[in-house]
């Protein structure tokens, strides 16, 4: 040490010093500053990119938007799918084609954009529905005829036809978040990562890309306040990393990886609560129909037969999740018990030989998460078994979620992609992403089937559960036939929170940020 004080710093003394520091950090692992009681620190699986209800990209953005742009209604917490009013004093369906609403009287927009009015409701809903705006969420309002403004606070939502999923997958989602007409028009019609004219229970006050988003209670919100003074959202892509963060005391709440659930349920960290929720999400291996190497349906069908779905799911989730058979989770109309292709490597080899594609090479794009990588490596091994070389390409969330976009330059090069979509409790919210309108938006497989589209539209107006069940099963059958999909699982949702936190959760475990409260 004396040599250091004399300024004679050698390589060895630096190494010795580093070693001592490391030992000290092991001896005192809890030197980090603990979270303040009025601050909730949670993890999101991706950083925010777009805070526009018409153009958002991932679920964490939806969570934030519902907190900062007051929606007409939002989901209720609990085990049943219900909704609760947020921006409206009352809202009711007068008949199949008309919904009347009246806004609460004193909801203001920040940045001097005045009071929320029925005209803002008209603007917010119609901009999503307007085909000219090419909103990926136009399907949520596909039945919209117009929003009629009755007075400053009241209006009528007119539909062209009956729309069954209105109260389950349209109104309680960002599709009913109200933005300020004046503010959005001033910035050219689209909101980016910086919100404008916030109006919700919270306001976004700070965003440090890839590090932190800070929501603070909106001081002008006159109704039930959010449970915490501040919510800090840390983007951590890998759930295993988030679990370590939770155990180190840096997080109050996080989703866990599915594969960790059995271990966490058996041995929950001290002072924590581990919960498992049924998931509506779906995970699948997609194949780009329009990619030159995959244009031949026999090659896509061969890949379907080459994948051992049970092994992929068991390996990735350590037995905590079951194999799924489509995009619609059990319990919803259209949920299936099986797919139309089986694991048959011999048949796969036969189809590849027929197509003259033996020894082909494909790329598989995945999100850089441990479970996805594990699943991808099993898929890679399965494909190798039938003579296909598969290169795995890991992407961070910012890159991954734009891979298939027609606005990018990669969508035609995309070959195989391992995806997971979150879901709302109506089968139409699963099928809508694979319609022809969504090609190059969320339909990265570029599956383009008119019969599928017609069935999707039929499902939107059909209220008989048995008939809907038939419609949605048929649609997934068409997806199987296309060869573009290998359905893997619906996962389960695992979450862990401190016992001092009472989380506000939808039945499928997705967070409702304003409903989180200290226990």
């Amino acid at each position: 040490m004396s040599s250091i004080f004399k300024g004679d710093v050698s390589r060895r003394s630096v190494l010795a010093g580093a070693g001592a520091l490391g030992a000290a950090s092991l001896a005192f692992p809890h030197m980090a500053v603990s979270a303040d009681g009025s601050v909730l620190t949670i993890r999101s699986y991706s950083d925010l990119q777009v805070l526009d209800p018409a153009f958002w990209l991932a679920l964490p953005e939806a969570d934030i938007m519902r907190s900062i742009y007051a929606p007409l209604v939002s989901n209720q917490q609990g085990d049943e799918w219900n909704w609760r009013p947020i921006a409206v004093e009352n809202i009711e369906q007068l008949d199949d084609l008309t919904i009347a609403f009246k806004l609460r009287d004193n909801i203001g927009f920040t940045d001097g954009f005045g009071q929320m009015t029925a005209d803002d409701v008209k603007f917010s809903i119609e901009r999503i529905a307007d085909p000219a705006n090419e909103s990926p969420y136009a399907g949520d309002w596909s039945a919209l005829k117009e929003v009629e403004v009755k007075d400053n606070l009241s209006g009528l939502i007119h539909l062209k036809n009956k729309f069954v999923p209105l109260w389950t997958t349209t109104l309680p989602t960002p599709a009913s978040c109200i933005v300020s007409r004046k503010a959005v028009e001033e910035i050219g019609g689209k909101i980016g990562s910086e919100p404008v004219a916030q109006s919700g229970q919270y306001i976004l006050t700070e965003w440090v890309p890839k590090q932190k988003t800070v929501l603070k209670r909106n001081p002008d919100w006159a109704y039930e306040p959010g449970g915490y003074e501040e919510i800090h959202i840390l983007p951590i892509e890998d759930p295993s990393t988030a679990e370590l963060g939770f155990e180190a005391g840096d997080l109050d709440y996080t989703w866990t990886s599915v594969s960790s659930l059995p271990r966490l349920k058996e041995n929950p960290p001290a002072g924590s609560v581990v919960e498992e929720k049924p998931s509506l999400a779906y995970v699948w291996l997609g194949m780009n129909h329009d990619n030159e190497a995959l244009k031949d349906v026999r090659i896509r069908r061969a890949i379907q037969h080459a994948i051992d779905r049970q092994t992929v799911v068991d390996a990735a989730y350590f037995g905590a999740a079951a194999v799924g058979n489509g995009i619609i989770a059990p319990g919803l109309p259209g949920s299936r018990d099986s797919v139309t292709y089986d694991y048959d490597p011999d048949k796969a080899r036969e189809l590849l030989a027929e197509a003259g594609a033996e020894g082909m090479t494909v790329t598989l794009d995945i999100l850089n998460q441990s479970e996805r990588l594990t699943a991808a490596q099993v898929i890679q091994a399965n494909l190798a078994d039938v003579g296909i070389t598969c290169e795995i390409k890991q992407n961070d969330s910012g890159t991954f979620w734009t891979l298939g976009s027609k606005d990018g330059d990669y969508f035609m090069n995309l070959q195989l992609v391992l995806s997971r979509f979150s879901m709302n409790p109506d089968p139409s919210w699963a099928t809508v992403w694979f319609t022809p309108e969504q090609v190059g938006v969320w339909n990265w497989e570029r599956f383009n089937n008119e019969e599928y589209k017609a069935l999707h539209e039929e499902g939107l107006v059909e209220s008989d559960p048995a008939k809907r069940d038939e419609i949605y099963k048929k649609m997934q059958g068409l997806m199987d036939e296309s060869g573009c999909y290998v359905f893997l699982t619906h996962e389960v949702v695992g979450l862990i929170h401190k016992d001092t936190v009472n989380p506000g959760l939808k039945p499928n475990g997705e967070p409702l940020l304003p409903l989180f409260k200290p226990a």
Binding site: S10, R11, D238, S240, E243, S260, R263, T311, D314, A315, F318, N368, S370, L373, T374, A376, Q377, V378, Q380, A381, E391, I392, K393, Q394
Partner: protein, 280 residues
């Protein structure tokens, strides 16, 4: 032959040097004879056998996909040594050529090249790696390009400094007056006198290079799965640390052994060839 044995004997006389040489030879042996030392395929998955501890069947246990960790470590050694030796050799060649040109060439060229070296050196390694992987995609080539770009400026600067010192020496002036070409002077009179310290420096850089490869693979920016790499094994270990510690140990221990081996060996080489620096 006696010329070759003399430095080796000197190294063996130093306890740390002997240990370093032993560790380096141990790692090289494992990598070269990987196929003979294990019959397991390092990429063969068997999820039913995941997270097994060490046993006579799996000497270091298995990972989350049931792959044999001993086989993955040995084959990962091949990747680490391949990247370290090839990219260090490429860096040396480029660094020597650029350093000689900068040191022996006109002043304006020297200034320009120094600017270039400093600009390259100023890039943080991780940022450079991220930028390159964005352009090239994750691959072994990307790792090697990163290593070359990170190490070349240091080598070139050393060669340049030594060349500047030597170019005014009497024997170089004599060669110039006898009409020797610049290329001949650099090749015959300067290069042999400047290359020694660089080789020692390169041997000490090998653990750094192995660290870069392992770090990039740990972050998913290096070799692509299922190719085994110590960094990717370490990442698997980090991800599954609460299920088993054996994967992290299997990924970490070879990195420690190799780093220590090359560091001890490099430092002893330096002490042997330049006793003025001994102990620093």
């Amino acid at each position: 032959m006696a010329e070759l044995w003399r430095p080796i004997r000197k190294i063996l006389r130093e306890p740390l040097g002997a240990l370093g040489l032993f560790l380096v030879l141990f790692v090289i042996f494992g990598a070269v004879f990987a196929d003979l030392l294990t019959s397991w395929d390092p990429t063969k998955i068997n999820p039913r056998d995941r997270f097994q501890g060490p046993s006579t069947q799996h000497l270091m246990g298995t990972d989350q996909l049931g792959r044999d960790l001993f086989a993955r470590v040995l084959h990962g050694g091949r990747i680490a040594l391949f990247v370290a030796l090839v990219s260090t050799a490429v860096s040396l060649v480029i660094g020597i050529v650029l350093g000689l040109i900068a040191g022996y060439g006109p002043r304006w060229l020297d200034n320009l090249m120094i600017l270039l070296f400093d600009a390259m050196k100023s890039f943080p390694t991780v940022m450079l790696a991220l930028a390159l992987v964005t352009l090239m995609g994750p691959s072994l080539t990307a790792v090697m390009v990163v290593v070359v770009l990170v190490t070349v400026p240091g080598y070139a600067r050393i060669i340049r400094t030594q060349t500047i010192a030597l170019k005014t020496s009497e024997y170089v002036t004599a060669a110039q007056s006898m009409g020797a070409s610049s290329a001949r002077i650099l090749r015959v009179h300067i290069l042999p006198n400047v290359i020694g310290p660089l080789v020692i420096l390169a041997s000490m850089d090998i653990p750094v290079v192995i660290g870069i490869e392992a770090g990039m693979s740990f972050l998913g920016l290096g070799v692509r799965p299922p190719t085994p790499s110590w960094g990717s094994i370490l990442n698997d270990g980090f991800t599954n640390i609460r299920d088993t510690a054996w994967i992290a140990i299997a990924g970490g221990v070879p990195i420690i052994i190799t780093t220590l081996g090359f560091t001890f060996l490099g430092e002893t080489l330096r002490d042997v060839f330049d006793p003025r620096l001994k102990g620093r």
